[in-house]
């Protein structure tokens, strides 16, 4: 236990701080009636630009960006960098839709994407489907959060279900009490931690390793020594197309979410790909493409107080709803995704994102695909990480576990 004392102290301090803030958040920008979904789920719709900025920042930069993507870069090189241009491309696209969606929802008092769909298309059935889909699709992500917490605990030498249950109960309790205010307030802490990590990554680590030039040279040598054809610090002729077309993988990659973890995506992907970690690389863009999906309505709850009014409003909303969206065929899921950070509530301290789930499998395949040097390096880290998910192939989460303890 002693060797973990630093980690445990840091973890405990942060956990207490975050939990305390989670409960206090209910009183932050105090609501008249926290029982209304407006207040609970949207923070009263009055988070300004700054709070939203922090909240979205805390949402985007998660275990996926800090663990899965670096792991993919480590294993496959340039291919893993797709996450950066992907985000660059998505923001302008989402902007087209989001501004209008926000104002329409604001005017009509819509809270969830299911609300929007019901009012926009006048179909309670469709809204129900959206809501149910959102809830069901969220389940694996919640499960993944549990695994993530478990991994962190195990990294510190804490095992067993009880600590996990306690931790999650606390997270659930303050989320239940404070709604979106909890993650929004906690996002400030989280973003500060993220900035610390970034500064360490771009200043301290290169300083210790002899500069970026040395790091990339070493990476180049490492990739040159591996038999896998798909890796390297640059893209090659074969993977450029998949690098720029994450969306093309959406259908294949996004569907078997749970299957990827439980039955091993490695098998399915390896069947399609020559080199296993190219399979990982292809999975990743798919995961990335799926990421916006998290923005859509997880929580299509019912609003009895609103149902009566909705059909009356349907026509009005239909007029309002963007021509822009209809033009160019960007309808459907983009509407829902645009729900964005605003009504993103059902998480306990950590955002519940598809990206977590999809981000996890790749390291396992890197491990297999990597050269001897990589194996040794990974093995060294695994010693600290310990097994994470005994039922699964134990390798899955280790690297994420030890890294995410930062």
């Amino acid at each position: 236990m002693n060797e973990h004392i630093t980690e445990i102290v840091v973890f405990t301090a942060l956990f207490l701080l975050v939990s305390g803030m989670g409960f206090v958040a209910a009183r932050w920008r105090r609501a008249d009636d926290l029982a209304s979904l407006n207040e609970w789920g949207l923070g009263g719709r009055n988070f300004g630009s700054w709070i939203t900025w922090f909240l979205v920042g805390g949402d985007l930069y998660t275990a996926y960006t800090f663990v899965a993507v670096p792991a993919l870069l480590f294993g496959a090189g340039a291919m893993g960098f797709f996450a950066v241009p992907y985000t660059v491309v998505v923001y302008p696209l989402v902007m087209l839709v989001l501004i209008r969606l926000w104002s329409v929802s604001h005017v009509h008092g819509l809270v969830t994407p299911a609300d929007f769909v019901r009012v926009r298309f006048g179909s309670p059935t469709l809204a129900l489907l959206v809501a149910v889909t959102g809830i069901v699709a969220t389940m694996p992500y919640i499960a993944l959060q549990l695994i993530g917490i478990e991994a962190v605990l195990k990294t510190m030498g804490v095992t067993g279900d009880l600590p996990l249950i306690i931790a999650f109960a606390i997270l659930a309790a303050y989320t239940y009490q404070s709604g979106l205010r909890a993650p929004a307030l906690i996002a400030f802490v989280k973003d500060i931690l993220i900035y610390i990590v970034i500064l360490v990554a771009i200043i301290y680590i290169p300083a210790r390793l002899g500069g970026f030039g040395a790091i990339f040279d070493a990476a180049e040598n490492k990739f040159a020594g591996t038999p896998a054809p798909g890796d390297g610090i640059l893209l090659n002729a074969n993977n450029q197309l998949q690098y720029i077309t994450p969306g093309a993988r959406l259908g294949a990659g996004a569907v078997p979410l749970s299957a990827q973890r439980d039955r091993g995506a490695g098998v399915a992907l390896a069947g399609r790909d020559q080199a296993e970690h190219v399979g990982a690389a292809r999975l990743q863009p798919a995961a990335g493409a799926d990421r916006p999906a998290r923005l859509h309505g997880h929580r299509g709850r019912d609003h009895p107080d609103r149902q009566g009014r909705e059909h009356g409003r349907a026509a009005a909303v239909r007029q309002d709803v963007p021509r822009l969206v209809h033009r160019g065929g960007v309808r459907g899921h983009r509407h829902r995704r645009a729900g964005a950070g605003r009504d993103h509530v059902d998480r306990g301290g950590e955002p519940v994102h598809p990206q977590h789930l999809q981000g996890v499998p790749p390291p396992r395949r890197h491990r297999r695909a990597g050269g001897p040097g990589q194996q040794a390096d990974l093995a060294g880290r695994e010693g600290r990480g310990g097994a994470v998910h005994p039922a699964d192939r134990p390798a899955v989460l280790h690297r994420p576990a030890s890294s995410s303890a930062v």
């Binding site: 660059v88 923001y91 209008r100 030039g213 640059l234 822009l324």
Partner: protein
């Protein structure tokens, strides 16, 4: 909170500016090179990071120009 009843449109030629930020990062020929390096970082990485600025500039321009 009153709803504007006049038919509104989000149409604006300025929206096409966004296309720049969307298309450029999707052309690997532009950035799939190691040289020239910047602070030791291959072009592939630093140029794609620089595309973030392009995206920010495009969204900022469109937002400022089209908002009412």
């Amino acid at each position: 909170m009153t709803e504007p009843r006049s038919p509104r449109s989000d149409r604006s030629p300025w929206n096409w500016v966004l296309l720049v930020a969307v298309v450029i990062p999707l052309i690997p020929v532009l950035f799939n090179h190691a040289e020239p390096r910047l602070f030791g970082i291959p072009l592939f990485y630093w140029l794609q990071l620089a595309f973030i600025l392009v995206s920010v500039a495009a969204t900022l321009i469109v937002y400022r120009v089209t908002r009412r």
